[in-house]
């Protein structure tokens, strides 16, 4: 019996120990070797640059585990990529590109300008862009003076962090710029708001405009001088470019004339050491992060077939431009069939090259043989012209590191754009000189080995729009350009499949802005839908 009592006592004692001991087990910590609590992550000094890289990476990566992994819901991982969303919205909605695979959700509506607030590509872009804001805010929160003091961060790292913070604010301003341009409004969240489900107030286009303007102006002193930062990190020129962009489009955004401001920032960039790469096509190759393209690209989004894998704009364009008939992928460093003729251009776009003075121009990459200029049916891949601007081969002909995901970086901002912005701002009354404007246009033609040059009398807005098409197609500017030139909505310019008909019809004015995605609207009642949707 004594044994029994001992057993019992031990048992009860054991129960008691377990009962009290185990509630503590409810406090768990991440077990994964790659996961950390925020404080543990930032206990390592190198985390500050890694955290900043995380904010930048949202422009390129969709998650932390490869190209098929996404931290944005509602659409396929690849389509949720920042640059891809931007490209889809700025290009597919225009004459520059038609997406063949219309059963990919949302893309048919973009091709045909019939999108609704339920469109998944819109939801993806809205979410991806605002996630950039969230990442930047979190970086600013984690690098507050208070936290840095607490973690004992000092010396040169502390100085570096001042620059890092300015870059994070640049990236946040860039995201709000895209929101302003695409959706005309945004939930306004800063580092002072709590992480969770904060239902941010809605900022109008004008409020966003003045925030971006003041924010960029404020960070300029901390940003590194042009071309002095590491490649792919923002410097003063990137901020000037963004300022120039909002001023160029200020009439659209806020109904104000800021062409002079635009022109003055263009001049600053032009005078800060950037140069056109000698060969136009080198800007769009697998080594465009190296050599002379480096001197032309003001702000790139990085891609790499091994270490920075994503289905972003360069991977989409290079695989997408491969012709269904031509099977010409090998020439561009991807599989022979690429994505089987995913992207073609409309008749309106092709005619700029065919009928203008761009027949013999390096920028004319149209492939027309055995193809018709028109596309009577979107699903008929062998009709309509294709292009050959982008490549996953280097300027010396070496193949990229993988055959689907490309090494080619996406030049979000480059000097050629600045030249044309200068010329346009000048024509719109922003000052500068006519001769400079003409020279800039001719510099682009010269670089492209186009023997046709313009004179002062040739320079007009129509020419600028055409020159922008020829120089900058597929670089995610087109919708913005067409809106600024009054040709996007209405019937002033009807390209093929605009409004869902083969010859194109007018579309309503309200389509200058995209709708707030239904899911985003539902999750934040402070947002209001754009008119017309």
């Amino acid at each position: 019996m004594i044994n029994i009592f001992k057993l019992k006592t031990l048992g009860i004692l054991g129960c008691f120990v377990l009962l009290t001991g185990c509630t503590g087990e409810l406090d768990v910590e991440p077990g994964d070797p790659n996961a950390f609590l925020a404080d543990d992550f930032y206990s390592d000094p190198s985390a500050y640059v890694e955290g900043l890289a995380g904010v930048y990476a949202n422009l390129s990566l969709t998650g932390t585990n490869g190209a098929d992994n996404s931290n944005i819901a509602g659409l396929d991982a690849g389509t949720s990529q920042y640059g891809r969303g931007l490209w889809n919205l700025q290009e597919l909605t225009t004459d520059e590109a038609l997406w063949t695979w219309e059963n990919d959700p949302g893309l048919r509506e973009l091709n045909r300008d019939t999108w609704t607030a339920d469109n998944v590509v819109l939801r993806g872009m809205f979410g991806r862009t605002m996630t950039s804001v969230a990442f930047a805010n979190e970086y600013l929160r984690q690098t507050s003076d208070e936290l840095l003091d607490g973690r004992g961060v000092s010396g040169s790292l502390r100085d570096d962090i001042i620059v890092y913070r300015a870059e994070a604010r640049f990236l946040r301003a860039l995201a709000y710029y895209h929101m302003m341009d695409l959706f005309g409004k945004a939930p306004f969240v800063t580092e002072n708001d709590a992480v969770g489900a904060y239902q941010a107030p809605q900022y109008t286009r004008a409020e966003l405009f003045s925030f971006i303007e003041s924010e960029l102006t404020a960070i300029l002193p901390q940003l590194k001088d042009p071309l002095q930062n590491e490649y792919a990190r923002a410097d003063k020129a990137a901020a000037w470019m963004l300022l120039a962009k909002i001023y160029l489009n200020a009439e659209v955004y806020i109904g104000e004339d800021h062409y002079a401001d635009c022109l003055s920032y263009c001049e600053q960039i032009i005078n800060s050491g950037y140069q056109l790469a000698p060969n136009y096509l080198n800007d769009f190759m697998a080594d465009n992060d190296q050599g002379l393209s480096r001197q032309e690209i003001i702000f790139p989004v990085v891609s790499d077939g091994i270490v920075t894998q994503n289905y972003g704009p360069t991977t989409v364009m290079i695989n997408g431009q491969i012709g269904s008939l031509e099977q010409n992928g090998e020439q561009f460093g991807v599989s022979a069939g690429g994505w089987n003729g995913a992207i073609r251009v409309t008749q309106g776009f092709s005619e700029v090259f065919v009928n203008g003075s761009y027949q013999n121009d390096d920028r004319n990459t149209l492939i027309t043989e055995n193809r018709t200029i028109n596309i009577p049916d979107v699903s008929t891949r062998d009709k309509g012209y294709i292009t050959a601007k982008w490549s996953n081969r280097t300027s010396t002909g070496e193949a990229g590191s993988a055959i689907e995901i490309v090494d080619t970086d996406f030049p979000m901002f480059r000097l050629a754009d600045v030249y044309l912005m200068y010329a346009e701002a000048h024509l719109r009354g922003g000052g500068g000189t006519l001769s400079n404007a003409v020279d800039y246009v001719n510099a682009l033609r010269e670089r492209a080995n186009n023997s046709s040059r313009i004179t002062a009398s040739d320079l007009n807005l129509n020419l600028i729009l055409n020159e922008r098409t020829v120089e900058l197609y597929w670089e995610a500017h087109r919708r913005q350009d067409l809106i600024r030139f009054g040709k996007f909505t209405g019937g002033a310019y009807n390209w093929s499949w605009k409004g869902s008909t083969a010859n194109g019809i007018a579309i309503s004015e309200y389509r200058k802005l995209f709708p707030i995605p239904s899911a985003s609207l539902a999750a934040n009642p402070n947002l209001t839908q754009n008119p017309g949707y």
Partner: protein, 992 residues
């Protein structure tokens, strides 16, 4: 559930009178302690029964019978002795003399059967909640590879949908599930150990490593009053599995079964000659691309295959004191799909001795399983569309002699540039040139100690410790003769391997108190439960590529710890009015400190109406009312979401880095977090009647339930910019499901001494589910389909069933043929866009039914079971994404189509893929199994017998659905499935 019903002893008026006399007489001697002893025998077989529980009613005092069926205990005259044994009806006898010989009846009234419930046992008769028990004698027969199939179609409210792969897992739903974004899987408890519902990578399914032959009984707990004792994990119901225990007398059991799996049906596509004619008619430009062969690619990727199982168990008393059962089992099953295979070997040990005069009962169960899987990748879609005019083999092919689309470019290197771009690979070569093998080891077991306190015998303390550990190690190897290319385009084959590990540890401790006070009986239990789950995964990455993006990755899941305090009290008055109250307080490591504790109360009341109103009636033999209410929880949003409340940063894997200058920077980004996550709560109301007629020759129950889940855990849109994603897990929305369940068991013919007997069992369940609230009423698009990247065809919308189909309304011409791209402009804005989609049907059945028939005549027995499902619809994604003429051209090659294209004449997938034309009624009636058996009793001794049987599995399916099989997964989206084989089986069973 039991089907053979016999007269209830206590309700026989003659016997009642007798028992009154027997009961009244000893009152004279009441209070005098005495030693009662005797033996317990099986009333039918006459054999002695070891291990029978003998307790004094209303106390915990008692004993069990020994090896020879003997028992001895101290009792008083006037005490009532309860004799109970699993599989036998409980008998209550007043202590009348010092020697009591008792015969227990096997297959006796179902209502007296002991059933295992959470942290205890009860009988059907005294159960207050909604539960169904099925024991080994009543399990489904046939080719049962995974345990859940023993139950398929047998329990009202329980649906089990199993795939066609060998060892395949099942979607198990009790009353349709209660969650939207969290798991809908029921909690499965094996010998008191709740198991992890996550299938370890490399294993076929959670239950595939458990040999069905080890299982003694299932109890399915359906309503909250029964499940709430499991608190936070009980919203989707509970399935309690009890494994076989040791006996005292030596018994040897050997089972063997062998069968042949055959292909029952194929997707209807064009034959080679039909395709030639079709191409000539529809796309003559493609004619030069056709070959000269006649291949049926579906025939080529499937085969007839073998399935076999053997089980040997020996049960007896070790050293004459320790009842022990040891068993070994082997299952070997080849799949229909070439190379696919499942092999399982397991051994188990059960010991259940008693010590210290039955005060300490020990129950040890240990089970080790070694499973070997060979996985065969899904080639169905490829075989459906692969050009039938091309041969399987090609002597000139550089790809191992298999036909492939290639185009040697002459650079002397065989790489991706020598392939016809984007052409499919030969499906037969893909199967035969890939070796994907995993070895899974699983050990699970528990040690349970029940200590009945000396000097305070009303109280019993129980400790149950459980352990479940699984590990898998596997590899995937693709031959270098397969055209598969690496990311750099080289063709060198592919090699990778992986290891997965998961472990789950349980500690339960509880006290049970049982006391009878006059007409009152109190039975109370209170305790504590602790469980911890750990898991990790290792993948080697591509071994034939030395780039940084193919480096090994180890993923470790954050531990999940669950602990709970629970209590339950059963009060009964006069044995006619029964009240159960239970309460559980649960904590989970999944939620932040302020939200991690949840309370889950339940109450149930039962009233044996018959005893009050017409106690004498034999025609109306049972009528019991049951009412229950309870709140249960759900927190299972997957192992990878165990720490969403923490401020986590994750570093990028090698393929997800950023570059500054020439430097590759390992990124670190914050993860979605929600500090406000909390339990999802389901309130269940249940009301039912248990009935019995003609001395319970007909029994059954009718019940209705109403379940309301609130604070649903779902991955839903979150205010953009407020978090590190645009969506994440939140508590959003309400969900309601309600239904009616009906079951009936009856002996149509009762055996008059080995004459013709026929027992049938039928159950039907009507369920209706509706989303009542979603966060801010926002729709959620769900239901990914093939055809397009990321396309969806279903929606969650307030007011509708979850996973409702969300499609365009097809417009038809005057001949009734669908017009391609002709969608109705439902909102009348003259634009056909996503605003014109509407909700049309869903994949959830309105009614499910099960029917079982057992017949026997002499030594022959014949049984079959049927399952039906009504009102379930399928989106036929096989046709919607493939049956269009444009797809005859797959880039540079010709592809085959489903013949349904002839009915529609559709050309372009994009124009039709979301048409409601592809939504079909998939109601069905299936015969799962029919088995004929013959038993030779008294083989060479009285207790030795041999049964031989022959049967067919997957006998027939009656349906209007045009696809391969109307029983699909993914909430009603059919995008090809591993065909379920029809299996012809023979088997034998020897008992000694």
């Amino acid at each position: 559930m039991r089907f053979k019903l016999k007269k209830r002893f206590l309700l026989n008026p003659g016997k009642c009178f007798l028992s009154f006399i027997v009961f009244a007489l000893p009152v004279l001697f009441y209070g005098q302690g005495m030693t009662v002893s005797g033996t317990v025998t099986d009333a039918t077989a006459g054999t002695l029964l070891p291990g029978v529980n003998v307790i004094i009613k209303g106390t915990s005092k008692g004993t069990t019978t020994d090896f020879d069926g003997n028992y001895t205990l101290q009792a008083s005259t006037g005490d009532i002795l309860q004799f109970s044994y699993v599989g036998f009806s409980t008998l209550e006898l007043p202590v009348s003399s010092a020697t009591m010989y008792v015969a227990l009846k096997q297959d006796e009234n179902v209502l007296d059967q002991v059933v295992v419930i959470g942290y205890g046992t009860t009988t059907i008769k005294d159960a207050t909640g909604s539960l169904t028990s099925v024991t080994s004698e009543d399990f489904n027969r046939g080719n049962i590879v995974t345990p859940e199939n023993l139950l398929s179609g047998r329990v009202a409210g329980l649906t089990i949908n199993t795939g066609g792969e060998p060892g395949s897992g099942s979607t198990i739903r009790i009353r349709g599930g209660a969650s939207l974004g969290a798991s809908n899987d029921p909690l499965i408890v094996i010998n008191g150990l709740p198991i992890d519902n996550n299938t370890i990578g490399g294993s076929r399914s959670v239950l595939s490593t458990i040999n069905p032959n080890e299982i003694e009984s299932f109890t399915v707990l359906k309503d909250a009053s029964a499940t709430a004792i499991y608190g936070s994990r009980a919203s989707n119901g509970v399935i309690i599995i009890t494994t076989k225990k040791g006996g005292r007398s030596l018994q040897v059991n050997f089972d063997a079964q062998i069968g042949i799996n055959t292909l029952r049906d194929k997707v209807d596509v064009f034959s080679a000659d039909e395709l030639r004619a079709l191409v000539a008619e529809q796309r003559p430009a493609l004619l030069p691309l056709l070959g000269n062969a006649n291949t049926d690619w579906q025939d080529e990727i499937y085969r007839n295959s073998i399935t076999s199982t053997q089980n040997l168990s020996v049960s007896g008393s070790l050293f004459e004191t320790i009842p022990t059962r040891v068993s070994i089992g082997r299952t070997y099953q080849e799949g229909l799909r070439l190379t696919s295979k499942f092999e399982r070997n397991n051994g188990s040990l059960a010991m259940n001795p008693d010590f210290f005069d039955n005060h300490l009962k020990v129950s040890l169960n240990a089970n080790a399983t070694f499973a070997k899987n060979r996985f065969a990748g899904g080639e169905e879609a490829n075989a459906i569309t692969f050009d039938p005019t091309q041969p399987v083999y090609d002597v000139n092919s550089p790809f191992g002699g298999y036909f492939q689309y290639y185009n040697i470019n002459g650079d002397d290197v065989l790489d991706a540039n020598d392939l016809v771009s984007d052409a499919p690979f030969n499906p037969v070569a893909n199967l035969l040139q890939t070796e994907s093998i995993s070895n899974v080891k699983r050990f699970y077991g528990n040690l349970k100690l029940d200590y009945n306190f000396h000097f305070f015998e009303d109280l019993t303390a129980t400790i149950n410790m459980g352990y479940d550990e699984q590990s898998s190690d596997g590899y995937v190897s693709v031959s270098r003769q397969n055209p598969l290319s690496q990311s750099d385009g080289s063709i060198v084959g592919s090699e990778s391997n992986y290891n997965n590990y998961q472990r789950n540890k349980l500690f339960d401790g509880y006290l049970a108190y049982n006391k009878e006070l006059g007409k009152f009986n109190i039975d109370a239990t209170a305790g504590y439960s602790f469980q911890k789950f750990e898991s990790s995964q290792y993948v080697s990455g591509e071994l034939l590529n030395d780039q940084v993006d193919s480096e090994p990755i180890l993923t470790v899941d954050t531990n999940l710890v669950l602990l709970g305090f629970f209590a339950r009290t059963n009060f009964s008055f006069n044995d006619n009015y029964l009240l159960t109250l239970s309460y559980r307080r649960d904590g989970t490591s999944r939620f932040s400190k302020k939200n991690r504790w949840g309370n889950f109360p339940a109450a149930a009341f039962a009233w044996k109406i018959k005893e009050d109103f017409f106690p004498e009636s034999e025609d109306f033999s049972t009528l019991k009312l049951r009412l229950g209410f309870g709140i249960t929880g759900q927190q299972d949003i997957g192992r990878t979401n165990s720490d969403l409340f923490l401020q986590r940063y994750v570093r990028g894997q090698p393929a997800s880095q950023y570059q500054f200058g020439d430097q590759v920077i390992q990124i670190g980004i914050p993860q979605f977090r929600n500090e406000n996550l909390k339990w999802e709560e389901t309130s269940t109301y249940n009301a039912g009647f248990d009935y019995g007629f003609f001395n319970d020759r007909i029994t059954g129950s009718l019940e209705g339930f109403y379940k309301e889940s609130k604070d649903l855990l779902a991955n839903a849109a979150i205010s953009d910019g407020s978090n590190f994603s645009n969506a994440g897990f939140q508590n959003i929305g309400d969900f309601v499901s309600q239904g009616v369940e009906f079951s009936i068991n009856t002996d149509v013919f009762r055996p008059a001494d080995r004459g013709f007997s026929w027992n049938v069992n039928y159950n039907a369940t009507f369920i209706d589910t509706e989303i009542k609230k979603l966060a801010l009423d926002a729709d959620q698009e769900v239901g990914g389909i093939s055809g397009g990247t990321g396309n969806t065809v279903q929606i969650h919308r307030v007011g509708y069933t979850p996973y409702a189909f969300y499609v365009y309304k097809q417009v038809y011409n005057t001949e009734g043929r669908p017009i391609e791209g002709g969608y109705a402009d439902l909102n009348g804005d003259n634009i056909i866009n996503s605003s014109d989609r509407y909700i049309h049907k869903n994949g959830t059945p309105d009614v499910t039914m099960g029917f079982l028939s057992n017949m026997s005549y002499g030594d022959f027995d014949l049984s079959f079971n049927l399952r039906a499902s009504l009102g379930n619809y399928i989106y036929n994604n096989v046709n919607s994404s493939r049956a269009q003429y444009d797809l005859l051209q797959n880039n540079s090659v010709v592809a085959n189509l489903p013949v349904s294209v002839l009915n529609t004449g559709f050309n372009t997938t994009e124009d039709v893929i979301l048409s409601d034309y592809f939504i079909e009624n998939a109601s069905f009636l299936k015969m799962d199994n029919i088995t004929l058996g013959y038993t030779i009793p008294n083989l060479w001794s009285d207790s030795a017998s041999l049964r031989i049987s022959a049967g067919v599995q997957n006998v027939f399916t009656i349906t209007d659905y045009s696809g391969l099989d109307p029983e699909v997964f993914e909430n009603g989206i059919d995008n090809t499935l591993y065909p379920r084989p029809r299996t012809y089986l023979v088997g034998m069973n020897i008992r000694l």
